[in-house]
């Protein structure tokens, strides 16, 4: 089923058509948009100050006053959740960008320059032999826990995934006739890489980056929960669940809502990733 993107003048109409035909993509995108807007503009949406302690109001169940209830210090869980979302999303995004930049660079170099590939390919394979949380924990242990090291650690963990895909795609694109022609004409390598190879890879990179974002968010939550991530003073969804752990049974809302926030974010990212992949791969037949 070919998808035709409309001309510039009706680009919005074209996008609307795509979203109408592909409901999972639309749903994921909508959900993601809502979450991002809520979190980025947290000051606008938070009904209370997330850090305001109020012992009188501690451990109130969710209700009209407090959408998600309050925690052990009387802080409104909803407000904390959307502020925490800022941090969680920011760490996920930063790690993804880190992984993307380095991963693309490595992948392009490995794909284009055979001699470097021998080494780079092995390093990628070896890096992927480490389970992500384990590697992240080790890196954080080596560098000391902080938001920055978590970002760097996760970035390093997910770089190989992207590098591998970029490398594989570069192999294919390198053999295409017009790339060969460009080289024959004497076009400098960097320009070939940028104009021809990278352009073609963009869709693949976008899809993979979306998934890495999702993995990174899950990983950050796990790391923080284990106590080797961001400091517990900074609210992230992971710290909220960790703090709420003692009150499971008493105040389930402290763990349930941050958990749901993670689930919905990750799920919407996966929906968008899948949707983009289906959209951009013309080989996929939807029916029959």
């Amino acid at each position: 089923m070919a998808v035709s993107v409309a001309a510039r003048s009706t680009r919005t109409a074209g996008i609307a058509k795509i979203l109408r035909e592909r409901k999972p993509l639309a749903l994921g995108a909508a959900l993601l948009l809502i979450i991002v807007v809520l979190c980025v503009f947290a000051p606008l949406f938070a009904p209370y100050d997330p850090n305001k302690l109020s012992i009188a109001n501690r451990l109130i169940a969710p209700g009209a006053d407090h959408l998600f209830g309050t925690d052990e210090f009387g802080r409104d869980v909803f407000a904390r959740a959307i502020y925490a979302g800022r941090t969680s999303l920011m760490i996920g995004a930063a790690a993804t960008i880190f992984a993307s930049v380095i991963g693309i660079a490595l992948g392009l170099v490995a794909g284009f320059f055979r001699r470097t590939d021998v080494v780079i390919a092995r390093v990628i394979d070896a890096m992927m032999a480490f389970p992500d949380i384990l590697l992240a924990i080790a890196l954080v242990a080596a560098l000391g826990p902080s938001a920055a090291t978590v970002i760097v650690a996760l970035g390093i963990v997910y770089t190989p995934r992207l590098a591998r895909i970029v490398r594989a795609s570069t192999f294919v694109i390198r053999e295409l006739p017009y790339v060969e022609a460009a080289r024959a004409l004497g076009v400098p390598t960097w320009r070939i890489l940028y104009r021809h190879v990278l352009r073609n890879l963009l869709s693949v990179i976008m899809v993979q980056a979306t998934f890495i974002f999702a993995y990174a968010m899950l990983a950050e939550a796990s790391l923080t929960f284990l106590g080797v991530g961001v400091s517990p003073d900074i609210p992230t969804w992971g710290t909220m669940i960790s703090a709420g752990r003692q009150y499971v049974g008493q105040a389930d809302w402290m763990t349930v809502f941050p958990g749901l926030a993670i689930i919905l974010s990750v799920m919407s990212l996966q929906l968008v990733g899948d949707g983009l992949r289906d959209l951009l791969d013309p080989r996929l037949r939807k029916d029959l």
Binding site: R122, V123, P131, L143, A221, L226, I241
Partner: protein
């Protein structure tokens, strides 16, 4: 066939070498002096210097690397700073719960994912397919520790069917230990099943379009044997690869799950080692886990030899 085995084997050795190198680098990029960390804040400079000498920390990096490689090859992973025993022994002691947990989890994941994946592919586009795909996506988005907390609350605290945490004491039977592992295995199994289900479905969809399926039907074969004998066996090859990858994911998940459930496994050991900066343990765990992953994948490559005759010749 011999070239296939040889190629895979040498590939494995090279990757193991790079793994060892990476671990070496990671452990040594930590700021600060490992000897100082080991001895604590009250150590005198001369104590620290003596320990540095003893540990060979003053040697050039390349020499240290050589010593390190030699130690690994002889099975010496160093001694734990805080546990007063060789790292290998510490890992060995903790291996049992992690091993059973991983095994149990893969079992649960496969039992859930394979039938549902096959049926989803066969009834592509149906309500069942859409529902299972959605559920799988949901399961893949759940943080394992969060699911663990919920399962504990519902099944251990409220219903009392399973113990809340722990692995049982030294005199508990194997069955009792497995009972302790049910909730943790379900936690990990559910999350892992999502990936296996996705790949099973995709692989089956590919295979069901192949011509020999039509040939099998034209022989007068009933649908069930067509799917199981012909389609599934061909779909198995990529599915096995995913199971191998899931093994690695499970080890990651085990780290978190063991912490939540208080299981005395390797994962728990690693977390406490990280907290205390017990570098030899961290190093040893990284090496063992990565080596295991590489070995599992090699084993799967060998399994292909058995299943796929095209590889043999």
């Amino acid at each position: 066939m011999a070239s296939y085995v040889l190629k895979r084997f040498t590939g494995m050795i090279v990757v193991l070498f790079v793994v060892a190198t990476i671990v070496f680098v990671i452990v040594r990029i930590a700021p600060g002096d490992p000897a100082a960390v080991m001895l604590g804040p009250d150590a005198t400079p001369s104590d620290i210097a003596a320990l540095r000498d003893r540990l060979g920390l003053n040697q050039p990096l390349l020499v240290q690397f050589g010593v390190y490689l030699g130690q690994i090859l002889t099975g010496d992973l160093g001694d734990s700073i805080f546990l007063n025993m060789p790292v290998l022994t510490a890992l060995g002691q903790r291996a049992e719960p992690t091993f059973f947990l991983t095994l149990f989890s893969i079992l649960i994941a496969t039992v859930i994912a394979l039938p549902i994946g096959i049926l989803s592919a066969y009834h592509r586009g149906s309500l069942f397919d859409q529902a299972s795909t959605t559920l799988a996506m949901f399961a893949a988005s759940v943080p394992s520790f969060w699911l663990a907390l919920i399962l504990i609350q519902v099944f251990a605290v409220r219903l009392g069917w399973f113990p809340v945490a722990g692995y049982g004491g030294p005199d508990t039977t194997l069955l009792e230990r497995l009972h302790h592992l049910v909730l943790p295995a379900v936690t990990l199994g559910v999350v892992s099943s999502a990936l296996i289900l996705r790949f099973t479905r995709a692989s089956m969809l590919d295979v069901l379009d192949d011509d020999y399926i039509r040939t099998a039907r034209s022989k007068g074969m009933a649908e069930t044997p067509v799917i199981l004998k012909h389609a599934f066996k061909n779909a198995l090859i990529p599915i096995l690869t995913v199971i191998g990858i899931t093994a690695a994911l499970l080890i990651s998940g085990a780290i978190v799950t063991e912490t939540v459930f208080g299981l005395p496994g390797v994962g728990n050991l690693v977390v406490s080692a990280v907290m205390r900066r017990d570098y030899p343990v961290i190093q040893g765990a990284l090496l063992v886990v990565a080596a295991l992953y590489v070995l599992i994948n090699f084993a799967i490559d060998m399994l292909y030899l058995v299943i796929d005759p095209r590889v043999r010749f």
